[in-house]
Assembly symmetry: C2
Homo-oligomer: 113 residues x 2
């Protein structure tokens, strides 16, 4: 089961690391919006992949991968995504930390599986 | 509730992004080992913080933050951590992707909460 991984990405590339604590409000709409954002991100030129998970307390980490910083900017400014960011700020996130990073090197495993 | 975030880190710094699918085997030992690894990481000079979550299917993301690449190397080679990596490879991880990245910029929010 490897479909939730972003795999075989070619360096150099960038990551947006988004750690967040969900308030627990409005969960259905939040889930639909999150799914929609993944769909939309895939249409941005330079989108490479995404890894995302959340535990039962609502603490989540989503890492999206991008070819260039320009692609990240396009994604940040995408209209429907910008509206979702507003909802996140006003209703959905108790707290978040967002970091943009340049991937220096990558490994995968375990070998031979 | 912000204690699960790595906060107010001073650039430049590095992230180790570890996405993994747990096999579901040996969960108690795995949990104890994971907790122990967080304790040990804190003793490495240059350790800055960690963010970690896992959903009910066993898909987890852990991002640890470090002042330098040298600190990451010390952590990778720490003896008890090296033994845990072996256990991870042989028993605990169905698949993993590990990436080392340099943080370019960071934001937190929402503002005013």
């Amino acid at each position: 089961m490897t479909s939730r991984f972003a795999q075989n990405l070619k360096s150099p590339y960038y990551a947006v690391i988004f750690a967040n604590q969900h308030t627990g409000d409005d969960e259905k709409k939040y889930g639909e919006t999150a799914d929609r954002m993944v769909e939309l991100a895939q249409d941005i030129p330079g989108y490479l992949g995404i890894e995302s998970t959340r535990d039962e307390t609502g603490f989540g980490i989503t890492v999206s991968y991008w070819e260039t910083e320009e692609a990240i900017k396009l994604w940040k400014e995408q209209a429907e995504h910008a509206a979702a960011q507003e909802m996140g700020i006003s209703s959905w996130y108790e707290h978040y930390e967002l970091r943009v990073a340049k991937i220096e090197r990558a490994y995968s495993g375990p070998e031979g599986r």
